[in-house]
């Protein structure tokens, strides 16, 4: 049996997630980017407000949880960059059905690390 590449597995699991629960991400927008060895996690409601409570979870390309921390209320949380060789899914969950995620592929991380810091 063909072993699915980890990133493909993550992608398929996300596809299933979006098909099964299309409304879960409603109202919360999550974005993640990389500067050097720092992972920057941004999240906001459609109103522009930044969530004050909640949980940030980071999964690798096998969809295994590799880091979990609480939301700080900052518009951009800076976290140590975990091993990204299989890709990362950055999820912010604030409860009550509000969550969102951003995918960073290995290519995304490589490209962003190569960009000059602004």
């Amino acid at each position: 049996m063909t072993v699915l590449r980890p990133f493909l597995r993550l992608w398929l699991s996300l596809l299933a997630l979006t098909v099964a629960m299309p409304a879960l991400g409603h109202g919360l927008n999550v974005f993640a980017s990389v500067e050097g060895e720092t992972l920057i996690v941004e999240s906001k409601f459609s109103s522009g407000r930044v969530p004050q409570v909640g949980t940030v979870r980071i999964y690798d390309g096998y969809d295994v949880l590799v880091h979990e921390t609480e939301v700080t209320g900052e518009s951009a949380m800076r976290l140590p960059l975990p091993d990204w060789s299989t890709g990362l899914k950055v999820e912010v969950d604030i409860g009550d059905g509000h969550d969102g995620y951003w995918i960073l592929t290995p290519a995304d991380v490589r490209r962003q690390q190569a960009e000059p810091e602004s």
Binding site: T18, N29, K44, S46, G100, W102
Partner: protein, 252 residues
């Protein structure tokens, strides 16, 4: 002879029954992170309902505005063809969530049939990755339609409202022409009057339109410039258009 006369008649119909529209048509009005993050733009000048292309020379300016910051993309435009006429295209990668406003200030187009120049300031909005912040951003044109309805994520049948602005002020009772991109000429208008629909804004410059079908709809608020341009030594009037393109989605 009959065939020639028919061709001439059709040519006249094509140029008189429909309106000119500056066009910026992205491959997707709402880009999701799971899909292609590169948006492809057709940048053209045409009669969109009748699928009749006109030549667009390189715009004097083409830019993208994101989070209040404008980036000039004029030199990145690639020559292309739209409905058989010269046009431009652009591949643009969206990198962050939010709304990207693509805006074109074209060179004046000489229209001998109207003995006037036409300048259509044209724009469209693309929402990236589920974030709609910035949907009412200004392009900063001399004349511009400011959306009062978020200009994406609309169902066919929804109304679209905008306010016509010139030099920063609403234009009372502005005339707004509306056309649909009638891809593959799928729709047959029962009357020439239905190729280009016309509405007037109210006393506050606000207009409303309910789109009957999914697809791209263009709204052009037309006015006369307070200046002229020279053609063969003669001063000619200039028609200004404030054009916005809005996509309506199928209700299904």
């Amino acid at each position: 002879m009959t065939r020639t006369l028919t061709a001439v008649a059709l040519s006249i119909a094509a140029t008189t029954a429909s309106a000119h529209f500056g066009m910026i048509i992205p491959s997707d009005a709402m880009v999701e992170q799971q899909g292609n993050r590169v948006v492809s733009l057709d940048i053209a000048f045409a009669h969109p309902f009748e699928q009749y292309g006109m030549t667009l020379v390189r715009p004097s300016q083409f830019s993208v505005i994101y989070d209040g910051e404008a980036t000039d993309l004029t030199d990145r435009l690639e020559t292309s063809s739209y409905l058989g006429s010269d046009s431009f295209s652009l591949e643009y990668e969206l990198t962050r969530p939010g709304v990207y406003l693509f805006a074109m200030a074209p060179e004046p187009y000489w229209e001998p049939a109207e003995d006037a120049f036409i300048i259509h300031y044209t724009k469209t909005y693309v929402a990236a990755f589920g974030d709609d912040e910035g949907w009412d951003a200004e392009a900063g044109f001399p004349t511009e339609i400011m959306p009062l309805t978020r200009p994406f994520g609309l169902w066919a049948g929804n109304v679209f409202q905008g306010i016509v602005m010139t030099d920063g002020e609403p234009v009372p009772y502005a005339e707004v022409e509306v056309e649909f991109i009638n891809t593959d000429s799928a729709i047959t208008a029962p009357s020439e009057l239905m190729i280009t629909q016309t509405i007037l804004a109210d006393a506050n410059g606000v207009f409303t339109y309910a789109a009957p079908r999914a697809g791209w709809w263009g709204f052009a608020a037309l006015s006369e410039a307070d200046y002229t341009l020279t053609m063969n030594g003669e001063e000619k009037e200039v028609e200004l258009g404030a054009v916005i393109w809005v996509h309506f989605e199928s209700w299904q």
